[in-house]
């Protein structure tokens, strides 16, 4: 076997293992309806709550339908980010709870392949979040986010990528401390929606929180989405900032996870069973 064949085989094996992690995530959800409902409950809840509230504001106080559509679009983008981060963390959390960590990491699977597998799980759940936003928006709130311009897609993408980065930071904490801090991590992921300029511009936040909000790429991307939808202005500057920050989160999260994984092995992954 020559070098090229050897590399091709190695890549094929690697892809098999990544797909195994993806399948693991998909089957967990497929086999447990309660887990499936749990996964998408908050997204459905928020779309309903803010969709109906937005419609009420629109019909009662404003005549600007674009505001309502912009709110739903930024909300979808934020839920997309939260779902991505929770999928990355959640996959690891389930493996810790199921005492499956050693089965995975005492196998040919590499930590980086595991991470890529969790990314695919996150990506596969995105259409469901989108579908919920479309269905709930149409049925309950007479908002159709399919009417949002296609130009929002790059901003959504940066928000999704930043979600993977946030998820990796949370997963780093999980792999080094175990299940204890999951609720804290869950709250932090949700806080990004609160202060990330999802439902209102960051300028509407108290001064102290504005600074914190600007640490999240989602705040730039939601600003850009609002600008695009309300004033038809595509901000290349905001796109560049959100792309850079998302990649920074992703790269930083990846580095942090690999560091914490190596550190966790110093103490032994079996410790996570406790």
């Amino acid at each position: 076997m020559n070098i090229n064949q050897s590399i091709a085989l190695s890549l094929a094996h690697s892809w098999n293992r990544i797909r195994a992690i993806m399948l693991l995530g998909v089957r967990q959800m497929h086999n447990d309806p309660i887990y499936l409902v749990q996964t998408f409950f908050y997204a459905a809840f928020n779309f309903t709550l803010w969709g109906i509230a937005g419609r009420w504001l629109h019909t009662t106080y404003t005549d600007n339908a674009l505001l309502q559509l912009a709110m739903m679009t930024t909300l979808f983008a934020s839920e997309s980010m939260v779902r991505a981060s929770l999928d990355v963390m959640g996959t690891l959390l389930i493996d810790i709870s199921d005492r499956n960590i050693a089965n995975l990491f005492a196998s040919p699977l590499a930590a980086a392949e595991y991470v890529l597998g969790t990314f695919l799980v996150a990506l596969m759940n995105q259409p469901m979040v989108f579908l919920l936003a479309v269905l709930i928006g149409n049925w309950f709130c007479q908002i159709n986010i399919l009417h949002a311009p296609l130009a929002v897609v790059p901003f959504w993408l940066t928000i999704f990528i930043s979600g993977l980065g946030v998820g990796l930071c949370g997963a780093s904490l999980l792999i080094s401390t175990g299940r204890r801090f999951f609720n804290v991590i869950f709250m932090l992921a949700r806080t990004a929606v609160l202060i990330g300029g999802t439902l209102y511009p960051v300028e509407g936040l108290p001064l102290l929180l504005r600074g914190v909000a600007r640490l999240f790429p989602v705040s730039y991307a939601t600003d850009a989405i609002r600008l695009l939808m309300m004033h038809q202005i595509f901000s290349w500057q905001l796109l560049a900032i959100s792309v850079l920050m998302s990649l920074l989160y992703l790269g930083g999260g990846f580095y942090l996870f690999l560091r914490m994984f190596a550190r966790s092995k110093q103490h032994g992954l079996m410790r996570l069973n406790d």
Binding site: H13, N16, R17, R19, A20, L23, L24, R27, Q28, N31, D32, Y35, I94, D95, D98, R99, N100, I101, A102, N103, L104, F105, A106, S107, P108, L109, A110, A262, K265, Q266, H267, G268, L269, M270, N273
Partner: protein, 318 residues
Amino acid sequence: MSLLNVERLTKKFTVGRRRWLSFAPREVMTAVDDISFELKRGELLGILGANGAGKTTTISMLLGILTPTSGSIFYFGKDFARYRSQLFSKISFASGYFKLPARLTVQENLDIIGRLYNVPAAIRAKKIAEVLAIFGIAHLKDRQTGPLSAGQMARLMLAKAFLPDPEIVLLDEPTAPLDPEIAQEVRHFLLQEKERRGVSFIFTSHNMDEVAYLCDRVLVFKDGRIVANESPRALAASVKKAHLALTISEGMDTALAYLDQQHIPYEALDGKELKIEADEEKIAGILVALARAQVTYVHLQVEKPTLHDYFINLAKNR
């Protein structure tokens, strides 16, 4: 040929929590202390030791889920730290400490494991059916893993370990939760795999009879060190004391007087049964002396020292 070479492996842990704003160094505990050993092709190597002796720490390092403080591990002549992923395609394990995802069915879990070990898609389903049949759990294949009993889970973990046709299998108390007849079937299977495919095993168990029956060689751990590296027979033979059981028909008092005089430890039961502990080579002399003293007996049994005796002796000498 050695499939596994462990060289000067050491693992130290810091214990206790660091106090707030304290710079005092934390206590260091050495769980595994400078151990070296090897595993040959087709060898069944047992690891024995009391709780906390360093068995599980060693297994964890051999599995790559715990990083050694120092020392090295070579599988098939290659550095484990460097070629981990490549080497794991030939190494697998089963342990009672781990489970498989609860929501997935038995078949789905094995399918995931097969993919992780790159078992080709064309033969994966067939291999899964084979290992399920070998461990008697084919009827559970569509059941979710969560509600399985401890025995069923142990069999599933064994099926998982043998799915990728490994060359080295690490087994951490694999038969502990199993019924005696299933455990015996598993032992037969391990010996069969050893003979048929030349699979090498590292095996931990608290069942001394099992270790004596299965293992070619035993590493005995004590306080993180290997204190013996011998065959089970040689270890048992290193215990000098044997047990002599007699059912006395006449002369019990004479026998007891003789044993007291010679300072030979004994246990007398029901006025007839006498159990004597003595060096194996002195047993014949004791029997001659009792015969000369007109002691008669209707039943005699000599129990040679076993691995169990060796282990008890080791524990006593802590």
